[in-house]
């Protein structure tokens, strides 16, 4: 007796829960691995998962087991040279005794790290856990600005290109059945009668002719019911549906004057990477606008943004002006969620700093969701910082932080976007 059961279509992810438990238990180690890895990624490389490394000893499941030493008696196969009483030099550790119990090596050896992969989603979840985009809820509720055309049943009127043939022919069939049913019934009765008359022993010619003409006229009436009528026509109906906008534009502003070296730019780049990845979790499409400036601002592509060298003084307000202009030209605030991130080493022409603060205050912060300013420097703050501090006091969606070196980026980023539940409450 045997029953065959095909289980191949059952869900194959029986272990998912246990896998989640595993990730949960080793969250601290995994998080460390994730944040180590984040500094090694390219800006838009967000589509891959990540390898996670955990030292094996942290994962052990200890049980009592016998250690090395004492007296061991073992039987081995394949004797090719030994006689009773032979004495063999003890082989160096790790060889010869390979025949032991598999258990013995559970903890003794095998210091390999436990390496495994997590998916892109798991990676991003871990990276941005407990973080949120500020003011997101507010903006999405208040801004239903885009419309999408969706199918919405059928209607009796419309333009020829929207005619739904199947539906219309169904209507036509239904109408023809409805309009001819009584005549068909009549026709059937007459035909039956006629058949009876024909089989009858004596012909009743008069009645037969009458019936025949009746049948003829009924058939004509039936055939006169039109095959298709404008009454049958059905048109596909469309309706406009409002959808919340899910587009974002991220402005990367960076000082590229002589004082910014490649190391400082790399730090800035890391920050932009994180911001970009974070935004991908919320928005379907993201435009990135790179604006670099020294005494003049210019919109450039990614490569030039990070790697071309410039020299000269610094007038940061030019970049802000350009950003403002680009927003007005291309990114209507009703259609786009606007994010800005400015990175600088803090140097700015002293007279220009108040202007920067003014542009931010009046133009940019009024339309953007969030604007962050990071200062990458080891030195004390200068005028730009001081001016921005005043701006920060009056705008909750403006944030500024100082970063000393690469290791600060992730903590600072987390600090900027950490959930502010206490504020909301």
């Amino acid at each position: 007796m045997a029953n065959f059961i095909d289980r191949r279509l059952n869900s194959k992810n029986k272990s998912t829960v246990n896998r989640q438990r595993f990730l949960r238990r080793y969250k601290t180690q995994i998080k460390k691995s994730v944040s180590d890895a984040v500094t090694q990624r390219g800006v838009t490389n967000v589509d891959s998962g990540e390898s996670i490394v955990i030292p094996k000893k942290d994962l052990s499941e200890p049980v009592f087991h016998q250690g090395k030493g004492g007296i061991n008696d073992r039987v081995h196969p394949g004797n090719d040279q030994f006689s009773t009483g032979d004495r063999i030099e003890r082989p160096p550790q790790g060889q010869g005794q390979g025949g032991g119990q598999g258990k013995a090596s559970n903890s003794g050896e095998g210091d390999d790290d436990f390496v495994f992969s997590i998916s892109k989603d798991e990676y991003l979840d871990l990276l941005f856990e407990d973080l949120e985009l500020p003011n997101l809820e507010k903006s999405q509720l208040s801004k239903i600005v885009e419309y999408k055309t969706v199918r919405n049943g059928y209607c009796a009127e419309g333009i020829p290109s929207n005619i739904d043939i199947v539906k219309s022919l169904q209507g036509s069939i239904a109408r023809r059945i409805a309009m001819t049913s009584s005549k068909r019934k009549q026709l059937k009765e007459y035909e039956k009668e006629l058949a009876l008359l024909e089989q009858a022993p004596h012909d009743d010619i008069q009645k037969m002719n009458l019936l025949k003409s009746e049948i003829q006229s009924l058939k004509e009436k039936i055939s006169k019911v039109p095959f298709i009528d404008s009454f049958d026509l059905r048109y596909r109906n469309y309706a406009k549906q409002a959808i919340p906008t899910s587009r974002a534009v991220m402005f990367c502003l960076m000082d590229v004057s002589g004082s910014m070296d490649q190391a400082t730019k790399d730090v800035a780049k890391r920050f932009y990477v994180l911001l970009y990845m974070f935004l991908t979790r919320t928005y379907q499409t993201i435009d990135v606008v790179y604006i670099r400036h020294h005494t003049q601002a210019k919109e450039v592509d990614e490569e030039e943004f990070f790697y071309s060298k410039e020299t000269g003084g610094t007038i940061a307000s030019t970049a802000l002006e350009l950003m403002d202009k680009i927003i007005k030209d291309r990114y209507n605030e009703k259609d786009w969620n606007i994010y800005g991130a400015q990175a600088s080493d803090g140097d700015n022409w002293a007279d220009d700093s108040p202007k920067c603060a003014r542009i931010l205050d009046k133009n940019i912060l009024t339309v953007s969701r969030y604007f962050s300013y990071i200062e990458i420097t080891q030195r004390p703050h200068q005028t730009l910082w001081n001016q921005y501090e005043d701006v920060a006091k009056t705008h909750s969606h403006f944030a500024m932080r100082k970063i000393k070196d690469v290791s600060d980026i992730y903590p600072v980023f987390r600090e900027l976007f950490k959930k502010r539940s206490e504020q909301a409450a």
Binding site: M1, A2, N3, F4, I5, D6, R7, R8, N10, K12, N13, K14, S15, V17, N18, Q20, R21, F22, R24, R25, L59, S60, E61, P62, V63, F64, H65, Q66, G67, K68, G69, G70, I71, N72, D73, R74, V75, H76, P77, G78, N79, D80, F82, S83, T84, G85, D86, R87, I88, E89, R90, G98, G99, Q101, G102, A104, G108, F114, V115, F116
Partner: protein, 503 residues
Amino acid sequence: MTKKKPLSDTPDWTFELLSEYQTEIERVAKHYRLDTYTNQIEVITAEQMMDAYAGVGMPIGYNHWTFGKKFIQTEQTYKRGRMGLAYEIVINSDPCISYLMEENSMTMQALVMAHACYGHNSFFKGNYLFKSWTDASSIIDYLLFAKNYIAECENKYGISEVESTIDACHALMNHGVDRYKRPQKISLEEELKRQKSREEYLQSQVNNLWRTLPDNELNKTKEKPKFPSEPQENILYFIEKNAPLLKPWQREIVRVIRKISQYFYPQKQTQVMNEGWACFWHYTILNHLYDEGLVTDKFMMEFLHNHTNVVAQPEYNSPHYSGINPYALGFNMFIDIRRICEHPTEEDKEWFPEFAGSNWLDTLHFAMENFKDESFISQYLSPKLIRDFKLFHIHDDDSQNFLEVSAIHNEQGYQKIRANLSNQYNLSNIETNIQIVEANVNGDRSLTLKYTPHQKVPLGDTKDEVIKHLHYLWQFDVKLTQEAENGDEIILSSCPVKEEEKN
């Protein structure tokens, strides 16, 4: 005998073809008097096989991170091609569930059906250890109960608490078995009925035991009996019944893990026999089909190729050597028993007077039903097989700086090799002997365990971690001791760690 029309030997299997083969295999198995549970054969994919791996042989498992780790490990090694997956997994249950992998060829499916559905299955049903220690009809129900119960606990008391408790139980799982007492069979309904009342009853018992009401004078002067009165080897059982501060649901979880450990206990002791028996029967059944002309030469070639791989025994100096292959030893022993019955030599008659020349099928069934690895080897390992395997015995005493070859495959060595090989499969030698010797119920409530080494083998270095887990369950001081050669008691490990020991 007229040759029958052979079954199709296409590499691709279909359910119809599986069923045809199954019918033929079943017929032959009946012919050889293999008594089995009803077979439930489930075809699964490679991914599902990895899931099954992660469940360590439990078709329904409770949730725990260790299974997730196992799954990730399996997935990693499999995807990198370092490891193939087993062709089948078979569960000791009634009906007997066997998993066949989708990507096996038709020949492999036939091999696997003969091996698992008739070999292992009949072993589960016939062997005395399985008969008396496990209850095949209720295991699935019990595992389901365990899964639901643990999930319910997680809802009530939080995942972390439950996880720590299971961690601690897993660490002591090998010490949750009654080695000498046979456990009672209970059905799911009884289990459910008893669980509630047990919870309350146990808690009240424990409270009584630890009651801190002032004793009357009479009691104080009386010598308190030692508790427990005899050393306890079943640590988890002792914890379940006596741990002072465990919550009722934790006791139940300890019990669940203990029961599962008990369920797997016979499998640990019959690896050689179980695999040997299954290999013997897939070999015998498929050869029988071949003799009848039901399977083709092509089928047999593929079958023999796989069979030979499975029962290969690399020699001690081969890079592939990793101990004695239980499939090889078991298979060859059963083949050898048949040979001794059918064509006994003078030597066989001298060594095995009780069955040399007897009916081979009776002898084989008797051997399968009444032995475990250790006793099976000491009863049935023949001099011929020792010669075939060229077995030799190495005596390794760490007080000497050399190893000694104390027996080889010759007249003087047979007995010694047989005795030693048998010992190698004796669980009480392989597993550590640790017993609870004292629970100081009237004092500081400390728990004392004693390690008794086998042949002076010291305890492995995970002991501190395990003691920590034990401490989690007991919640008062726990120490592990060993008797030194001069009779002194040395403390191997304790939790919490005592200050003076650090120095």
